[in-house]
Amino acid sequence: MSVSYEAVIGIECHVELKTVTKMFCGCLNEFGGEPNTKVCPICLGMPGALPVPNAKAIELMVTTGLAFGALIPAFSKFDRKNYFYPDMPKDYQISQYDMPLAQGGTVKYWLEDGTMKACRLTRIHLEEDTGKSTHAGSGDGRIAGSSYSLVDFNRAGVPLMECVSEPELHSAEEAVGYLESLRRTLLALGVSDVKMEEGSLRCDANVSVRAAGSSELGTKTEIKNMNSFRSVERAIESEIERQIALLNAGNRIVQETRGWDEINGVTHSMRSKEEAHDYRYFPDPDLVPLEVGRVDVERLQAGLPTLPWERFERYTREYGLGAKQATQLVENFELGRYYDRVVALSGNPQQSSNFVLGELSRLANETGTTVGDSSVSPDHLAELIALVETKRINSKIAKELLGRMWSGAGSPGAIVEREGLAQTSDLTTVERFVDDVLAANESVVAEYKRGKTNVAGFLVGQVMKASRGKADPAIVNELVTKKLSS
């Protein structure tokens, strides 16, 4: 029981690419719809039909590879993966075996506390999705006990990218961090919707444990049927616990595929390695080898956006934002872009973050709109930040102004100018307000002198009120204290 263990996890993701048409035919690539309405002889595997690759899918796949710094070989090819399955029209899947479109690469990700991590990729390859089977007559939709099955081929032939990581993740938290970063990156690249609930992102985890410090890999199990990041986290945790308990009890791990049971929170055996298929891969003779031109690679490389982890690092390292704030800005792509423009204009990342993630996001939530769609332009917000920075207005006024800008009041500088809202730091003016307030509140002043010093706050508040909020609160504070103590 004294042995301490280390988990070793690798993740395989299937990602449906966001193309207009399917991978090898002209049918629409859209989620849902009446069964078997987005089909043609090609994606139904009719006799004599032939596949023709979708150039856009190849481009999206290469873009993805480049974003992760993978090698894009000049030469790639499609292979057939042969196995019988009712929702696979040709009873083979067009996939890539030994020459994938992207080799290697790294996914950078971060944990909740902001620690940056990296996980290398083995490969990313392109293939076609299968149809979907529905089992009827069993009550629970499972195949066991069902009397017949229905197949919907709308999804058959949708371009699918398989992204395989190296076994370099060591906890459920890291696995989720990796997946989050992968998801954010694919979204930023616009290559996929990455919606687990619609199946445009699906993932399996290979999990093993070994004695801490050991360099050998333990026997792994493959976990399937996880339908949210939360279930990935729970499933991996549960599987690590199960494996450690087995080892501690002197048992061995069996190499097998295990399904995650969401309701009972455990994994259960689906099939052992001995039942594994011989897929009889061979190059698809219906398709010619893929040659990805250098020019195309350079064009796609040049078109890459700033990647989520690059933004996270900038926000935390250069701007000094906290991990939570930075994550929020990375997560909400539009908000992040807005924020970036405000920073560029104001030169004040911290204040920008305070406004964007604070008051502005609150207003957006309240009104059910987005910051980007609001009438507060990044220029106006930058102007507001400058007004605060130069102490022309205080934060209370700033908040009030922002509310008015949200309603379309325009430039904050103009409002300040027009309504004389500039903060008063002029000593004589402020002193007059202070003297007036002290004179009008003799009883309170007396209380203070009797030792009840906390009434000073009330008096400061009265001065601010008398100045209609324009007095510089720091100066007011100082003067009030000085006069009371004199």
Binding site: P47, G48, V52, K90, R280, P285
Partner: protein, 496 residues
Amino acid sequence: MPEERIKQSAAETANDVRSRRISAVEVAEETLAHVGAVEGRLGSYLTVLPDLARAHAMHVDQRVASGEDLPLAGVPLAVKDNMCLETTRTTCGSKILEHWIAPYTATAVARLLEAGAVPIGKTNCDEFAMGSSCENSALGVTRNPYDPDRVPGGSSGGSAAAVAAYEAAIGLGSDTGGSIREPGAFCNLVGFKPTYGRVSRYGLVAFASSLDQIGPLTRTVEDAALTYDAMAGYDAMDATSIARPVEPTAAALREDLRGLRIGIVREFDSKALGDDLDGIYRAAYGDLERLGAQLVEVSLPTADYGVPTYYLIAPAEASSNLARFDGVRYGLRVEAADVRTMYDKTRAAGFGPEVKRRILIGTHALSSGYYDAYYVRAQKARTLIAGDFDRAFARCDLIACPATSCPAFRFAAKSDPYSMYLMDYYTIPMSLAGLPALSVPCGWSTPEGGNFPMPIGLQLCAPLFAERLLLGAAHAYERATQHALARAPLLEGVQA
């Protein structure tokens, strides 16, 4: 004279229809009547399409009337039943597709129809094009029009028999290892396999995707050229079709062979085929020389590996191509309690023994642990064979050799599969190299114990994309020798 008319070439019929000496509808009716008269003795067609033929013929007449210039106006067309023609049964000669109606039309077929051809019917073939005699068809027997006791060849035997017996002027076939050239030779026809990738495979039910190629069976070289010109060329629906302009071959038909070097393959010495065939081939080579060609000896040292190489690659691809016939979406389904058993029963009942044999060979060749030893080595051998041709074509413009090792044989004469596989000995190397090749009638030989002289074919083969040269030279040979005219098919007593 209808009897004369059905014997017309495609070029002649198209001319007559274009110049409105006769209507496409009349040609179709006469052809259908002739089919009705002879089919009982031949069995060329699995499906005759009288309604579709009439509808197409009427449409052709309208197009001609409106001034369209159709190269194949009104030409009766027989389509091998492994090519899709929308609304018609496409069986591949198999029980598993016996009742399958194609929901779309193959590109090659569509292009011929667009050029004015009129579909008469779908022709018999070895099941999924696997065979050399049509005997592997699960749906019917096709007889050789020159001797009903003999096979028409295969796998495109139905199209060959149909064209030989004037049931169509053009027969579409598909050639994977010789399936157009061999029935062409057996039925006294021009059987032409273009360069791989020249004719779209879209809608051709795949046997071995890297080898399958559609081509015509015709009674003249000119008709082969016209057909090829109408259907060749890039097709966006077939990723292996070649985006390279097709120069019309019909304009390049020659009358002599002056200036051409023709390679005679040392390893294909016709002495091995017996005195009779040896004499025929020697005479054919002599005719080529007399037409002005210079004969040079070339060597194809790895050609001997053609048959074993082919019988790894073709079954490997077939084992995967034929997986889709699983009873789930179309075709035969034998119901069972669970899907695995349904697969097993459907495929057991739906496929014939030769198809099963090849699926097993192919599945084995691709299996983990055997893949490198079989499939990978076969691909390497294929590269070597193609290299042999490259070297040979450095010394010559065309290669001439036998098309087959014997004339059409009797039914059940090749019951041992290996002896049947050897039927494609002379045609397989060209298929593996993707080269254009054809067989053209070169003489007659009465087989031992046979009642009739049977046609013999000369094979000509050209470098990749040299179809113009190939058809041009074949035309010169055909015009000079006229072997095809030496004997009519056995249609006596048949009233058209």
